[in-house]
Symmetry: C2
Subunit: 286 residues, 2 copies
């Protein structure tokens, strides 16, 4: 869509723009909250949701103005993340904190996620399924089906490293909302006749709450939910997930599609025919 | 680098910004021209360069103003290209023509290319080379070592599909300039002790001019230049390049790094330990 525009487009003051951004963030969080609650009510599993998702937005106006070189530098960093050009990284570059926050809470992240789902859906529909019912679609869980943004919001969107205890404390709440566009893709590939395998790096100790959270967020009908057992704990995600995909192939399944927010979800052995990389500029899993 | 900035940053009129962009483009083309000529003179191969690289910049001001949703839509499209989320595409989306042109001729493309080279160089230096001299780095040629931007400038930066006859007419000029950041990476990996393999989809009929162009642009000391022979012509690039990488591995080489602007340069069998995807929002090769 190309909307003709005018010179006055540039005439907003920084203050006005900040106000609009704050409003957009508020709307985003409201949608997140509504989406989550709606799924709970639809599925009649009120015991899962421990209460409304409350996020207090702390406005911080420092350095929110536009610096072209900084924006390009941070966009370039995000591109490098998404194209798998970076080596292992622990935290986002300090100078890109506001850029990443604005990307996540603004329209950029939403646009990118919706595009991935749209492309994946088009491919899923165009691919001719075999009659034997052995065509599968693999989904990762965190930042692919479920969003942990409420947690990362509290941890500066990747500026500080999150340790696994804090992550699992959050997991045990079972309140991670669905990523809307991924839920739609999930339902679409299921309807098309793919079998769905969930392959997550989450520890199997948190199996029950993970299932509850997934169901509560609207995900049903998966064939298998594969999680890390004690013997997998020391393995890199690429190795663990490759091994599990190898097993699927050995069992006679054909991995047609694979959706994940990390390259370690997608690369390795027994790769899918097409893989779909959801954006994630907050954390990196090797 | 985080430069403190002020509300006045937004107070440029569209006219002023267009002037700055036109100036940046002029500088870019001047640098391109100078770089190309410099290499020719350094290598004393004046017969290769058929004359100065003349590009007339045709300014077109329509629709050059800022439309946030359109920018996000086109940035999202570029992300999908770079993350390998798109299926085969022939031309760039019509509405993203100005976005792609501004990205290529502005600082974005330059920033992204420099980052890829920097990351690749850091990895190349950190990787411990084996004593047997069998560690190699694979480079693609077009839009990886050599830039065909002068050609794509004349063909609307991917808005119109370029047929192979027009491409090879350009190739036969032998005037494609080096991509500066890639030349630096190339020289760095060579100095580190990697053997360099060039693996290009170019037809072997154009071998002599390709060698002349590469040498003229500053690329020397490669181990092998692998091009498409008649029997490879119908193969997808992914297949052709995988077969050639398989041969390298069978010959006892270890593919440590692989640099290319297309996922078909990087994906497939006998993949490198780390691959580096240079940006290319202009064309797609399956």
């Amino acid at each position: 869509m190309h909307v003709p525009c005018h010179a006055t487009t540039f005439d907003h003051s920084v203050k006005q723009i900040l106000k609009i951004m704050a409003f957009l963030r508020f709307i985003f969080l409201l949608v997140l909250l509504n989406t989550s609650i709606t799924y709970c009510q639809e599925n009649h599993t009120p015991h899962i949701w421990k209460g409304p998702l409350v996020i207090t937005y702390k406005e911080n106006n420092e350095h929110q103005c536009f610096d072209e070189d900084l924006q390009l530098h941070c966009t370039s960093w995000r591109f490098a993340v998404e194209a798998n050009n970076l080596g292992p990284w622990k935290t986002i570059p300090k100078e890109c904190h506001h850029h990443v926050k604005d990307y996540i809470l603004g329209k950029g992240y939403k646009f990118d996620i919706e595009r991935v789902s749209k492309e994946a859906g088009a491919f899923a529909a165009s691919h001719e399924l075999s009659a034997d019912g052995r065509d599968i679609w693999v989904f990762d869980v965190d930042e692919t089906l479920l969003s942990n943004l409420p947690l990362y919001y509290e941890h500066s969107f990747g500026l500080e490293h999150l340790d696994s205890r804090d992550f699992y404390k959050w997991v045990e709440k079972g309140t991670a909302p669905a990523i809307q566009a991924s839920l739609e893709l999930y339902q679409e590939v299921f309807k098309l006749g793919y079998r769905i395998f969930l392959l997550t790096g989450r520890n199997n100790k948190h199996r029950d709450i993970t299932i509850e959270n997934l169901v509560c967020a609207g995900f049903h009908h998966w064939e298998k939910l594969i999680m890390r057992n004690p013997e997998d704990r020391a393995k890199l995600a690429t190795i663990f997930k490759s091994e599990k995909r190898n097993e699927m192939v050995e069992e006679g399944y054909r991995i047609v599609g694979n959706s994940g927010d990390q390259w370690s979800d997608l690369f390795g052995s027994s790769m899918s025919i097409r893989s779909f990389k959801l954006p994630n500029p907050i954390y990196y899993i090797p």
